[in-house]
Amino acid sequence: MNCEQEEKRILLNEAGELSPREAAALAAHLAACAGCRSFRDALRRFDTVARTQQAAVTFPAFLGARVLADAEQYRQARRMRHQRAVRLLARAAAIVMLLGAAGGAGVYGHWQRQANRTAEVAGVLAVLIDEEGTGSPVVPGDHHHGLAHDLLQLEGLDEDLSSADLLSLADEKA
């Protein structure tokens, strides 16, 4: 018999992870092996003391409140970013519609696929958010770069707001 294997079975058995058949085989071994009984007894004593020590640790009451306040702050910040994205996309989608199927939708789809650089997105935004609404080519300015940066940040920093989310929001508003 291999006592090292039996001792590992003792560990599993104490955690309730042994099948009834394996537990019975272990019990038979324990009845005949003082060494493994000694291992089990030591383990139980360690467990008892460790659990007693853990039970004596007081969880600081203020900590739970601090955790929840932090979560609430994050939720509100996220909601604000979300609302901002909705506003931006609603505006972009409306302009896409104004531009018509010919060029606008293509540009918008291109942005969704290629939105990996601020400059590119700024270029697309310059067309989409053309202040005069003429639809004619516009050179992207600081304003567009800023918006593009914000949009990319939204995509990159907020795991919960994926490209798919952005697209579905745009669909919703279009």
């Binding site: 030591a42 467990d47 003391v49 460790a50 659990r51 853990q54 739970g64 955790v67």
Partner: protein, 199 residues
């Protein structure tokens, strides 16, 4: 909040789903349910109550931001894994020091005060505390992986969960605990020494 049943009966996964749907009280239940165990683990691993506070807070920050990353096996296992990853991140470049005399609570309690012995006759209590102090020191001398397995077991995790927390095969988690018990027995002297094997 729309929790009608006793909150004890609501499973972690269900609470997380409710939280994701906007029910912040569901998060409060999860925090209340799991923070004490996270705190105990962090306290033992870092040795400082202020550090343990930071660790618990950071674990929940990560839970809140990555709640979509939970894949529905064991929420407890998941947050312990986050806790473990964070402890590893923190421990890079610093060595935790643990002193039994150091304060762990807000009321000036020390690790020594937490050792069992309350309610015993002074001599027996002193002996018990002495022994418990030895065990605490011996646990502290284990490798971080072995110490983790020892502590997670004491928190009631089974080996399947511990293996997931440590991202190792079940046999590795078992071997770590087996080795830890061997080392503790050796450290704690004759009373726990390995007896002659029955053949």
């Amino acid at each position: 909040m729309s929790i009608e049943a006793s909150t004890d009966e609501i499973r972690d996964g269900e609470l997380l789903t409710r939280y994701q749907a906007g029910d912040s009280e569901a998060l409060a239940v999860l925090v209340e349910r799991h923070s004490p165990a996270l705190y105990r683990l962090a306290l033992t691993m870092t040795g400082q109550s202020a550090d343990a506070n930071d660790v618990v807070q950071e674990v929940w920050r990560r839970v809140v931001r990555k709640s979509g990353g939970f894949r529905g096996d064991s929420f407890r296992g998941w947050i312990f894994r986050i806790c473990r990853n964070h402890l590893i991140d923190r421990s890079r470049g610093r060595k935790p020091t643990v002193s039994l005399d150091e304060g762990v609570g807000d009321g000036g309690t020390t690790r020594l005060d937490l050792l069992p012995g309350h309610g015993l006759e002074p001599d027996a209590a002193a002996e018990r505390r002495e022994w418990c102090a030895q065990l605490a020191a011996a646990v502290d001398a284990l490798s971080p992986e072995q110490k983790e397995v020892f502590l997670l077991r004491a928190e009631g995790l089974d080996f399947k969960e511990i293996a997931r927390v440590q991202r190792v095969p079940l046999n590795t988690a078992l071997a770590r605990m087996h080795y830890a018990v061997g080392r503790l027995r050796k450290s704690l002297g004759a009373e726990f020494a390995t007896e002659r094997r029955g053949k």
